[in-house]
């Protein structure tokens, strides 16, 4: 179970947290506007009433302790920068995702220690540009990443004692056995970077490698289950 603290309750944070699986994530919503906080409670999210400017309050909800991910989704950039800075000081390993309103704030947020910057306007602009320039590809993205149909990207980590350990990539036959397409592999021992499988020569998988696959959720579930099974036949 992962713990996520969401600062700022608005359309964007609502969309983000409703996409997350309630069983896998423990979500706490914080907003200094009591009306918005009440709205979050009404929508069934757990809320906390704290002042984000105070380090003690941040510690109180678990930053520096059990919180793994922080969403800085306030409407103003200055508040997000402040929160990012405070949280980074409390926890070096915290995963901080922040949104930006004006593009020049992105650098400030990175400097303050954010892991991922999301610029809604930029994303929207790119997406509309894609709709105009390559509508087919855009549609496919809509169906996969944006999940309009049952096609999903998933990451599968190879656990210890899996039947895939030491198997060759070409031996996988994911497309015929599971109706899945293998997009890429992350070799944890080398780097965090994903290698696209098409340009990768045949190599052996080891424990900890991450397979990035695309396919219907039923097949993904089946594959994940089999991966953990020691005795599954290739």
């Amino acid at each position: 179970m992962k713990n996520i603290a969401v600062f700022g309750y608005n359309r964007l944070s609502f969309e983000a947290i409703s996409r997350l699986d309630k069983e896998l994530y423990q979500i706490t919503v914080i907003d200094h506007d009591p009306v918005k906080a009440a709205l979050a409670r009404e929508n069934g999210f757990e809320t906390a009433n704290i002042d984000f400017r105070s380090d003690d309050d941040l510690k109180l909800i678990g930053i520096g302790a059990h919180i793994d991910t922080l969403f800085c989704f306030f409407d103003t950039d200055s508040e997000n920068v402040f929160l990012t800075l405070s949280a980074r000081a409390l926890d070096k390993a915290l995963n901080i995702v922040a949104i930006v309103d004006s593009p020049e704030s992105a650098e400030k947020l990175i400097a303050a220690g954010a892991n991922k910057i999301i610029d809604p306007y930029e994303i929207c602009g790119r997406k509309i540009h894609d709709m105009l320039k390559r509508p087919d590809i855009n549609d496919i993205f809509d169906h996969t990443v944006f999940g309009r149909h049952d096609l999903h990207l998933a990451e599968v980590t190879i656990p210890e004692n899996s039947y895939l350990e030491n198997a060759h990539v070409t031996q996988l036959h994911l497309s015929s056995q599971y109706n899945l397409i293998l997009i890429g592999i992350v070799n944890k021992q080398v780097s965090e970077q994903m290698h696209f499988v098409a340009e990768e020569f045949d190599r052996r998988l080891s424990v900890g490698d991450i397979l990035v696959i695309l396919g219907p959720s039923r097949e993904i579930r089946a594959f994940k289950k089999d991966v953990e099974n020691e005795f599954c036949k290739i």
Partner: protein
């Protein structure tokens, strides 16, 4: 009998294809401001006009030059023909005849030729007395030898330039918009001139050594002084005359500054529409451009991408600061309200525009602009932005082809990032074209070597490409599983090795950009090569 013949002719002209086409051709040539022919025609006419004036000046010094005479004749012919054709396309006489004839038939009245001619004549008079036609006639008449005295009016031909040049027209419009102020000033100036002329005449007429011998001298002196030119050829000799001079000079300063301020105000007011019409004129030259309504953060981002692609587009926004920004970046931009029909029509929504993006931060405006655009053009691609979830359906109802929700997409990406950071980074890299690996489609065209081939034969692995699926609207594929409805087509995810490709299908490939390009080039080359022997 004559009436019958005329009516018959009118009906013949109505049905005659060549007549209609000829009329359309001349309309395009002379009047249709969107036509390319008119631009060439106007340029030619401007050259002819300037040449004719040059010959006029040449003729003053060389009276018996022959070349000038022939050229003059040629130009005259062109002008006369132009004048007549303009008269011809100004009205459709045969339509008047048919209308009158059918009316008479319906009401069981006698068909009277006289009434028809009167109506046609009224139309002709209308044309003849229109300002441009008068200028045209003024350009023709001076060439008529018996009216040689009018030769000086050849210079009036230059007024014809107004016909062919938009900027000259704008100049005239600017002055016309200040008609009231200019009129007031003119009346005041007339009074001033009258009073000053008469006064100076009274004081100076009898003075010895005075240059003023009649009322015209007084008038001439007044104008020279009023314009602050003051040649000094006539100077007041009496004290009374000098007082008149002092008052006239003071008053003329006021008149001149008033006149200048009117002109400046007129031009600065006109400047906005001048710029706008220049923008529209530039758009006229393009086909297939995109209209962006709203130049906020999203609009700026799209504009940047489109600019990089060298795709033409027009920005419309109500906020002048944003329009200034767009212009500073070298984009075509208009400060206007896109919910106005006229603005969209001027922007070319029914002519050259291929898509319109309604992406302001206000859903009410987006819905309204979407509705307006769909109403004006049924085939236009409309992409709209919904800032609130509840408005998505309204936008689709209003006629949008695609609706985009910026906050939802961003929220979704945030969630994706938390759940699957690796996949997210990879896919967002592809999505943003940041990595070398891209996702692209390859079309299976007719007679392509891919046509009728099985997926298994494509050898994609050797080419280091990953096939994600096939997009097709061919019903022959429907038996395959893993199909997802995408608009009017189906996306066949992960097709089996015995999936047979048909022309019109699209392969969705993942791989390096040059790998996909190479594959596409090879397919194309083989297609061309295989056709050569035939």
């Amino acid at each position: 009998m004559l009436a019958k013949l005329i009516v018959y002719c009118a009906y013949y002209l109505k049905s005659a294809d060549w007549y209609r086409r000829a009329k359309l051709f001349f309309y395009d040539l002379l009047e249709n401001s969107h036509s390319r022919k008119k631009k060439y025609f106007d340029a030619t006419m401007i050259c002819l006009l300037i040449l004719s004036v040059i010959f006029l000046i040449y003729d003053i010094e060389h009276e018996d030059s022959k070349m000038g005479g022939y050229f003059e004749l040629a130009i005259l012919m062109v002008f006369i023909v132009e004048y007549l054709i303009r008269g011809w396309i100004y009205s459709d006489t045969y339509k008047v005849i048919i209308e009158e004839y059918e009316k008479a038939l319906y009401l069981n009245l006698d068909f009277k030729l006289l009434g028809v001619f009167r109506k046609a004549f009224v139309r002709d008079i209308e044309y003849i007395t229109s300002p441009f036609a008068i200028i045209d006639i003024l350009a023709i008449l001076p060439s008529y030898r018996p009216l040689a005295i009018l030769r000086i009016f050849i210079i009036f031909r230059l007024f014809k330039l107004f016909r062919y040049s938009n900027s000259a027209k704008l100049f005239a419009d600017a002055l016309a918009s200040k008609r009231f102020e200019l009129m007031t000033l003119l009346i005041f100036t007339c009074f001033l001139v009258f009073i000053a002329s008469v006064s100076i005449y009274m004081f100076e007429y009898q003075a010895p050594d005075s240059g003023i011998h009649n009322l015209f001298d007084a008038f001439y002196w007044t104008i020279v002084t009023l314009a602050t030119v003051g040649f000094g050829d006539i100077t007041p000799q009496t004290t009374g005359g000098r007082w008149v001079t002092i008052f006239l000079i003071l008053a003329s300063l006021g008149v001149l500054s008033f006149f200048t301020s009117i002109l400046i105000a007129a031009f600065s007011e006109k400047m906005l529409s001048v710029r706008e019409s220049r923008t529209y004129a530039e758009l006229d030259r393009y086909d297939n451009f995109i209209i962006i309504c709203g130049f906020g953060r999203v609009g700026q981002e799209i504009a940047r991408h489109l600019h990089n692609d060298r795709q033409k587009f027009l920005v419309i926004d109500r906020v002048s600061a944003r329009i200034d920004l767009a212009k500073k970046r070298g984009y075509l931009a208009i400060e206007s309200d896109a919910s106005n029909n006229e603005v969209l029509i001027n922007a070319g929504i029914c002519r050259g525009a291929s898509a319109i993006l309604c992406i302001t931060g206000d859903d009410v405006i987006n819905v309204y602009v979407t509705l307006t655009s769909r109403h004006l053009n049924k085939n236009l691609r409309i992409i709209s932005r919904a800032n609130r979830h509840d408005n998505v359906n309204k936008l689709y109802q209003a006629g949008a082809d695609n609706v985009i929700r910026p906050f939802e997409i961003a929220g979704l990406l945030a969630a994706e990032f938390v759940g699957q950071p690796v996949a997210f980074e990879a896919i967002s890299g592809i999505l943003h074209n940041q990595t070398e690996t891209v996702m692209e489609s390859v079309l299976v065209s007719e007679k392509s070597p891919l046509d009728n081939q099985k997926i298994g034969q494509l050898d994609l692995q050797q080419r280091k490409l990953t096939l994600l699926g096939v997009i097709s609207d061919n019903p022959i594929h429907l038996k395959h599983k893993n199909k997802y409805q995408v608009n009017q087509q189906h996306f066949y995810f992960n097709p089996e090795v015995d999936f047979i490709l048909r022309h019109g299908d699209m392969l969705v490939l993942l791989g390096r950009k040059y790998g996909i390009d190479h594959f596409r080039d090879q397919v194309e080359q083989r297609r061309l090569f295989s056709r050569q022997p035939k």
